[in-house]
Homo-oligomer: 215 residues x 2
DNA sequence: ATTTTTGTCAGGGAAACCCCTAATGACTCC
DNA sequence: GGAGTCATTAGGGGTTTCCCTGACAAAAAT
């Protein structure tokens, strides 16, 4: 048979029992092992070769984040679902950077945890609904900054191209104006923001959401 | 009393009845109105003054996205929860940009929808778990590209500063080398990548994760 | 052992950039 | 209706930066 294999990594005995019981109720997978520290998780990942590891963040020794990093380094095919009580933005980002495919809070209800496990096993990503708001700053908070931004629409347009590395000539061609116009805009921008170095302008443009990686 | 007021905007009669029934079961809020087009939603938002609008995306006339934009423009305090069958990345991003506070798929189970409404009413954001993976591209997929990067460590370092808008002189001071050295590195980078325009280098640096908006 | 890559530097000319000045239209404020 | 502010558009002249062509030694690859 080919039921997915799940490994648990958590040092909270009581919770562990609960999770074990809960996951056992569903006949879609089987629990192949339980560990209670980050080191054990790394060591046993190769032995039991699970499809998914339910990983706590706060564990003795190396935490769940570092364990995730090491496991994903050696065995990229193993999916890792963080199960933690930390609802801070920082932990979520670190977990994702370490290679986790999902993030669920321990206050989640049974159906949510099962749904998360199922989702991650399918190769998708599951982020606890209220946590995902951390991931799109810049999407919604654009307008709040506009009030404080002393630049005109045209100036912001110019700044955007400047920050993206366009030369004044290129910007001029893009906006169908003279190079001199672009230079003036840039001068006024530098003056208003009191930033003379181009690198400062780039940082400002990024902070204002004028340029965005997620296009 | 001050129960939160909820308004429904959807043109699917059957589904509407279901949602109405489902939300009525919970005694935490009351449904104050039902509309079946984007225009109606905008018009009635001020009349009924709901705390939350459950909004479909595909509706006659202006869709739910545009309706959301107009409502948030005039009445920023009204929370909007998108309820749609579209699971595409583009719709999620557009909805968030328009000002939606939540995004739930119609295939969600009852508890999820109730949880979403509750979350959004509390002022938080609720994103359907499997949808949020669209929001953090660049977090996880950084290393995959690094292998193909033909640049040396020093060159990548220089490129980073170039992309951040530093001048050669500034980079030289930063790295304690001659300006001419920096210029040579930049020339090699342009040569290797076949990119002569600075803006292209910025884009490349971003795509390689050499510079990151998320600090 | 020889070729290639890497890191370091220079000179000269071209291009980009910066500072100062300024005209025009739009807008507000008496 | 004028006076002032601001946005947008430019030009002249000087300065900095950038690009191209070389160069050479150390390290790495072959």
């Amino acid at each position: 048979m080919d039921k997915p294999k799940i490994m648990l990594a958590d040092d909270h005995g009581v919770l562990l029992s609960g999770i074990q019981l809960l996951l056992s109720k569903v006949d879609e997978w089987e629990i192949v092992g339980i560990v209670s520290s980050g080191e054990e998780a790394v060591e046993n990942a190769s032995l039991w070769d699970p499809d998914l590891i339910l990983m706590d963040i706060s564990m003795p020794g190396i935490g769940g984040i570092e364990a995730t990093r090491q496991i994903k380094e050696k065995f990229p095919h193993i999916k890792i679902l963080m199960l933690t009580m930390f609802s801070e933005e920082d932990y979520l980002k670190k977990a994702l950077k370490a290679g986790a495919s999902g993030y669920v809070l321990k206050k989640a209800v049974d159906t949510e945890l099962i749904s998360a496990v199922r989702t991650v096993l399918q190769g998708e990503t599951y982020i606890y609904p209220t946590m995902s708001s951390f991931l799109f700053k810049g999407f919604t908070e654009e307008k709040k900054d506009k009030d404080e931004c002393p630049l005109s629409a045209r100036e912001k347009e110019v700044l955007k191209y400047v920050a993206l590395g366009f030369t004044y000539q290129e910007i001029a061609d893009e906006l169908f104006v003279s190079v001199k116009t672009v230079e003036t805009h840039k001068a006024r921008i530098s003056d208003k923001l009191n930033m003379k170095k181009r690198s400062e302008l780039v940082r400002y443009a990024v902070s204002q959401g004028l340029i965005s990686i997620n296009e």
